[in-house]
């Protein structure tokens, strides 16, 4: 199982040693193994070893009908589940030429942005715990619990929603969804300010994260980094703005960027994203049109032969689903392009030369979810 690290034991100088932040570690956010070559506390080399929870989902999907694949997408990134389902569903709708009614598009936006807020709140909690602040998780999870209750009423699942269907939704939103949403939004932005002041603006944290893990924008683009990890280095690339899918073109929101390039900028970008998501949610809830929530989709879906790729802005970056159809009811090939896969590959470039403690902070700021790396 273990892959040969690029640095072998025999070539270590006598001051260096290898430390394994093994697959079981409180801070690697899943089953990730990072092999570190250290000299004292200084990191000389980093080697991420992935694949511990590879489940062959792409091969599995070749044996499933098109609608039955949607729950697999939830499990890939359980924090931004609706966004991932959306990518797949968009790709299939492109293949079939299905036009989704507008109400369904707005509901998709609402659920996706709620997922984004949920994901960032959990990232905030986990990051706090990684750096030793054990209290913010309880505050952030209070907000998260409200959102989960809303989404559970709408979709039936707290974490893995299985909300989207090819063509729209199965059921409309429950009656008390929108009042609940506005109740949540009425106090949310103040809470975000509070959480930012508690952890992100804390003097110990700023001392620990400023100037650490500096990621050059050209390097980031070359490595395929997307999402807040990229926007913390400068390029304002957000698929909701640059390549708007669905009805994102109708909303007025900023794309949070930071020129700081270091870990702290990435943290700040995520906190700002929560605020922008709140803005989008307000606008979407206000502009929600009446109508049907699903297009007419045949019972057994057999798209015409061809291929389609759809990309969405998940909380971690660009998630894409590439679907190849051969005319039957099962896809010929499905490929999921996950943001954490490319975000992790840049770890080696930015983590060399810092302390062990900084590795934790950097990995936390990249916001990795391992199942979508391993698929």
């Amino acid at each position: 199982m273990p892959v040969q690290a690029p640095f072998e034991l025999e070539k270590l100088s006598n001051k260096e040693y290898i430390l394994n932040m093994g697959p079981q570690h409180p801070s690697t956010h899943g089953v990730l193994r990072v092999v570190l070559k250290l000299e004292g506390e200084l990191v000389k080399d980093v080697f991420p070893d992935v694949g511990y929870i590879h489940s062959g989902v792409e091969k599995l999907c070749e044996n499933r009908t098109y609608p039955a694949i949607v729950p697999y997408l939830d499990r890939l990134d359980y924090l931004g589940a609706v966004n991932l389902e959306w990518a797949y569903v968009l790709a299939v709708e492109k293949l079939c030429g299905i036009q989704v009614p507008e109400r369904a598009e707005y509901i998709r936006v609402i659920l996706a942005e709620l997922n984004r807020v949920m994901s960032h709140l959990l990232w905030y909690s986990a990051f706090g715990m990684d750096v030793g602040a054990l209290t913010p998780i309880f505050y952030a999870f209070r907000e998260r619990e409200e959102i989960i209750a809303l989404v559970e009423a709408a979709t039936g699942g707290r974490l893995t929603h299985n909300a989207l269907r090819i063509g729209g939704f199965r059921n409309d939103l429950p009656k008390d969804f929108l009042p609940g949403l506005s109740r949540f939004l009425s106090s949310f932005e103040k809470k975000v300010d509070e959480y930012e002041a508690l952890l992100i603006d804390n003097v110990i944290l700023t001392a620990r994260t400023r100037g650490v893990g500096v990621l050059d924008p050209e390097l980031a683009v070359n490595y395929g980094v997307t999402g807040p990890s990229l926007r913390g280095s400068g390029p304002a690339w957000d698929l909701r703005r640059t390549a708007p899918y669905s009805v994102y073109g109708k909303f007025d929101f900023r794309v949070p960027v930071s020129e700081g390039r270091d870990t702290w900028s990435r943290l700040k970008v995520r906190m700002d994203e929560m605020r922008e998501s709140a803005k989008i949610l307000r606008q979407a809830a206000a502009a929600l049109p009446a109508g049907e929530v699903s297009a007419k989709v045949p019972r057994v879906l057999k798209p015409a032969p061809g291929e389609a790729y759809a990309r969405v802005e998940s909380p971690r970056g660009e998630f894409g689903a590439w679907v190849v159809s051969d005319g039957t009811e099962r896809p010929y090939r499905v490929k999921f392009r996950s943001p954490s896969f490319s975000n992790l590959s840049v770890l080696r470039e930015i983590a060399v030369g810092c302390n062990i403690a900084d590795i934790i902070a950097i990995m936390g700021s990249l916001d990795l979810v391992i199942p979508e790396i391993d698929r």
């Binding site: 199982m1 892959v3 040969q4 690029p6 992935v50 694949g51 590879h54 062959g56 792409e58 091969k59 044996n63 499933r64 009908t65 039955a68 492109k94 390097l219 683009v221 070359n222 490595y223 395929g224 997307t226 390029p235 690339w237 640059t242 390549a243 389609a308 790729y309 990309r311 660009e318 894409g320 590439w322 190849v324 099962r330 010929y332 090939r333 490929k335 392009r337 896969f341 490319s342 590959s345 391993d374 698929r375």
Partner: protein, 151 residues
Amino acid sequence: MNTSEILGDMNRVPGASGSVGPDSVLDVLAPAKEVPGILAALKKSGFGHLSFVTAKDLPSENLIELVYRLFSYVSRTDASVRTRLDRANPSAPSVSGIFRTAEWHERETAEMFGVEFSGHPCPGKLLLPDGVEAPLRKDFKHEEMTPLPAV
């Protein structure tokens, strides 16, 4: 450079043929050894983001088709570069010198389809354990894995 100029450049590459699909995706089919040059040219004309590198197994035509998907944040369009490799001995030059993204994507494609990428800086398995070879090929068999009934 606009799409027609890029298309013209692509069509000038020996063995390559480009076209623009209905959803304005620039599709280029080229022989394997021309792919790095094509990708470099596309990168220069604005397609700075490589979304993924993967493959498709076509046992009926005895081919493995590699797919490189690019995106231009400038013109907001996609480009798809495809190349066809012989299924018995698939080998292609690595493009990780042009896009560092390709390092990990090519490793994954290599282990999933059995493709060899020449010039790759650190080849080796990425996701799979030992003992599993080319699982995404259509004729993959493993004594411990039995296909379940289709859902």
